[in-house]
Symmetry: C2
Subunit: 198 residues, 2 copies
């Protein structure tokens, strides 16, 4: 089986890779993730995922790997991207915006194939319905620290489950790696699962 370079420092993506048992190595790609005006959330997510893959290819300076995978997860409310929060106060404002409403979680996945030199990029979108957050549950959640480093300032696989009424789409996509989409992208780009799956 061919190792996949995972262009991500997200612990959740790394956990999913471990669970899948696919051979891989981690090479985080540091890129500028400042949200740009004029791009839809979907196009911005795709741009970021591709940029992560390209950054790793650049960092490898000519040594072309067989597979590189990058992803970008973001939250869009009324088609406006919510940035990751840098402070507790920013997280509070972000969660207040999401309170009692539905938003989109978009995860773009980019896969580079060394054989074709092509980057395949696709997205998984999930709708997440938040309950109303009163100030008590909001402060409690901020105390958990889960908002740190998380798109939308919450972690669906964590305690945020207490105020999420329902989702429509891919749970793993909200966590950061839409498993079904990832599986299909590998398959359709000719990844050799060997004795693993096929």
């Amino acid at each position: 089986m061919e190792p996949i370079v995972l262009a991500s420092c997200s612990r959740r993506r790394q956990d999913y890779f471990k669970m899948l048992g696919l051979p891989h190595k981690i090479l985080p790609a540091n890129i500028d993730e400042t949200v740009e005006d004029g791009l839809s959330p979907e196009d911005f997510a795709k741009k970021m995922a591709v940029a992560k893959v390209e950054k790793v290819l650049y960092d490898l300076s000519g040594k072309i790997p067989q597979w590189v995978f990058g992803a970008d997860t973001l939250i869009a409310l009324d088609d406006i991207v919510l940035n990751k929060s840098k402070s507790r106060e920013e997280a509070r404002q972000s969660l207040k915006k999401l309170s009692g409403r539905s938003h989109k979680v978009i995860t773009a996945c980019a896969l580079f194939c060394g054989k074709t030199k092509n980057i395949d990029c696709r997205i998984a979108t999930t709708i997440v319905h938040f309950a109303e957050l009163d100030s008590e549950i909001l402060e409690w959640y901020l105390n958990t620290g889960e908002w740190q480093g998380a798109a939308g300032s919450y972690q669906i696989q964590g305690l945020a489950g207490c105020f999420i009424n329902r989702i429509e789409g891919s749970f793993s996509g909200v966590v950061g790696l839409p498993l079904r989409l990832f599986y299909l992208m590998l398959l359709e780009n000719g990844y050799d699962y060997g004795n693993y799956v096929i």
Copy 2:
């Protein structure tokens, strides 16, 4: 904070309790879970969840605890309950039935309150859409062993994510403990979260 007796040997429910950080003790309730004719899947799940709570109350022989929680998760396809599989062959047949179709995952939650002597029972229902499973991915999944002890012979939080197209409802409900519902049941039955949440 008042300890909750968790009437379940499900490791996933225990993990959620640990994540929530609520004081609790585990007293698994061994009951007969044979599916009965004539009951809807929803009513059967409720009956099982309540039976688990009642069994724990019986086992405690008169010492009335403040809180007892029991739950039951089952899969219904066309309103027929799929039993847990006892063998690899049963799991294969069960997964073949789910292939390329949608099914319901019902988790009934029963909460006994020592103060009121009441058992509150509610359900969370989630629709899960399976992709088509060809024989290769089916045999691979059977090899993972995830089917063992699982309602519907799959674990959504595990590798089954590779063939689940989408869900509508509560992810944690499919895992076995619908977090939002559980949070509301405790709150509305007068559980004192202390400094924890409220």
